[in-house]
């Protein structure tokens, strides 16, 4: 089965007496790209570590196609915020790391690795070390390194954070193309609303205290997507506005709960849309 359904049920994660994730439930639909967006400090990165199996949840469970997921596995691979390519391996060796570690390498694997590198636009750099590549290229090689393992679910934790705007848009296109081709289940974490709308099939808007899914927005935009069509698309703008309204509302709550980081978002939102939109969102519920 190529596409898997991942279910998160009543997951709680506490460190000592601090509850970082509290009673969180959601599902990742098979073959869909789910984007998770939410205010900072709402436990997104902790959820990533739980999904990847780096840490066990304190309560509740995570299942892949109904089978409980325990510990790290190449079923569930993570692309971290900053590059975690092995600096001592060439791009190609990095991509081949997973298959080699499991002792499954033949000519076909090497061929597949090269194919993936070409697909992310790094074919000519197969023999280069990570330090010889640009930041954007490093992320793409890392994407190829994960994809060669054909994970049941790919988890991307703000992978394009810190890249400049143009590089970021280029990354969206490479990534969307790769996703559309493989058709596997993906979870993409971000704080960037444009990124979310461009990539997502579904957007999960998270709330904190306790961490839970605040709203789900189905992004019914056609694939394949390109920046040109997205900019002019009314439906895309509508989805973006809808998501921003909910996020603004959530930030207000989060700020009221003592989260100072939420204030920046509220300020920029109100500068952009005025208070009218904010009150409209509150009335909608």
């Amino acid at each position: 089965m190529i596409s898997s359904r991942i279910t998160v049920e009543n997951v709680v994660k506490s460190y000592g007496s601090t509850k970082v994730v509290g009673d969180c439930s959601f599902a990742l639909e098979p073959g869909k790209l789910t984007v998770m967006i939410g205010p900072s400090g709402c436990g997104k990165s902790t959820l990533v570590r739980l999904l990847a199996g780096f840490e066990p949840p304190s309560e509740g469970g995570i299942a892949v196609d109904g089978a409980p997921a325990v510990g790290p596995s190449h079923d569930r691979l993570v692309l971290f915020q900053e590059t975690a390519l092995f600096p001592w391996m060439t791009a190609l060796d990095n991509v081949l790391y997973g298959p080699r570690a499991r002792g499954r390498v033949n000519e076909h694997t090497v061929q597949r690795a090269m194919e993936l590198l070409h697909k992310v636009g790094c074919g000519a750099f197969a023999q280069k070390y990570p330090t010889q590549l640009s930041g954007g290229m490093q992320r793409r090689v890392e994407l190829a390194r994960a994809m060669i393992n054909e994970p049941k679910v790919m988890i991307l934790d703000e992978p394009f954070r810190g890249l400049d705007a143009l590089t970021k848009e280029l990354m969206w296109q490479y990534y969307a193309a790769l996703f559309e081709e493989t058709g596997r289940t993906h979870l993409f974490i971000t704080t960037d609303i444009d990124e979310a709308v461009f990539l997502a099939d579904r957007i999960l808007i998270m709330a904190n205290k306790p961490t839970r899914v605040r709203a789900v927005i189905d992004v019914d935009l056609p694939r394949p997507r390109s920046l040109e069509t997205m900019v002019a698309n009314d439906r895309a703008a509508e989805i973006k506005q809808q998501a921003l309204d909910i996020l603004h509302d959530e930030s207000l709550r989060s700020f009221a709960g003592g989260n100072k980081a939420a204030l920046d978002f509220i300020a920029s939102y109100e500068r952009r849309f005025g208070r009218v939109a904010a009150s409209a969102a509150t009335e909608q519920q």
Binding site: S73, H74, W88, A101, R102, Y129, T131
Partner: protein, 264 residues
Amino acid sequence: MIIDKLRTRAARRAVVSLLVFAVLWELNARFLSKNVPPPSAVLAAWVTVVGQPDYWHSWYMSFTRVLGGFSAAMLVGIPFGLLLASSRTLFGVFFPVFEVLRPIPPLAWVPASIIFWPTQELSIAFVTFLGAFYTIVINVIGGAQAIDPRYFEVARSMGATRWNVFRRIILPATLPSIVVGAVVGMGITWEVVVAAEMISGGGSQAGGTAGGGLGFLIWSSYVGGSYELIVLGMISIGIAGLISSELLRKLGVYVTPWIQARSS
């Protein structure tokens, strides 16, 4: 190839600076400090000595000791450092002892080592070993503890075995620190071997094949009053140290190609 190298600006500067240094030294020896042998006299001494097997035997003795002590320090120090870095328990047990012994200068071990080890040669080897050992261990521990924990998470996710993680992650990630430790350790080894040879190698109890070496050459020249040979011995050590550090650095670049790649 050497001609090519001489054409570079850096090489020309090096040659000029060495020549100026020699000229100043010559002038100083002739007019100011008359008991310092001038470079011309040292060169003359070198010409006579260069054909004698005894001189090259001194090189051979010192090099053997340095290589022996240094290799032993690498062979023991790298696994020891990796072991300490990988286990909190072992670190807790061994590191305090290590930290108490580390500040003791290797040369302070000379008398104890002469008493403890059965032969002169072994005691010199032991002191040389100590010179490099601490530096290598400290560097290995530092390098291994600084490995990005995400590398382990990536490896575990992708189904790597413990051996694979050690072989393909821990070892290469620590290699640059090992190289730095080795280069520094090699320098210390030369300092220590020469002093150890002066103290023990030239001693009256040096019977049979023991003794000798560049340190001993300096010491015996001092005792024998041939000042040119003292300076010749010193320069020989400088060159020997330079050769070993350079070789080690080359080897370091060869085993860590990704470090060099950064600048190209």
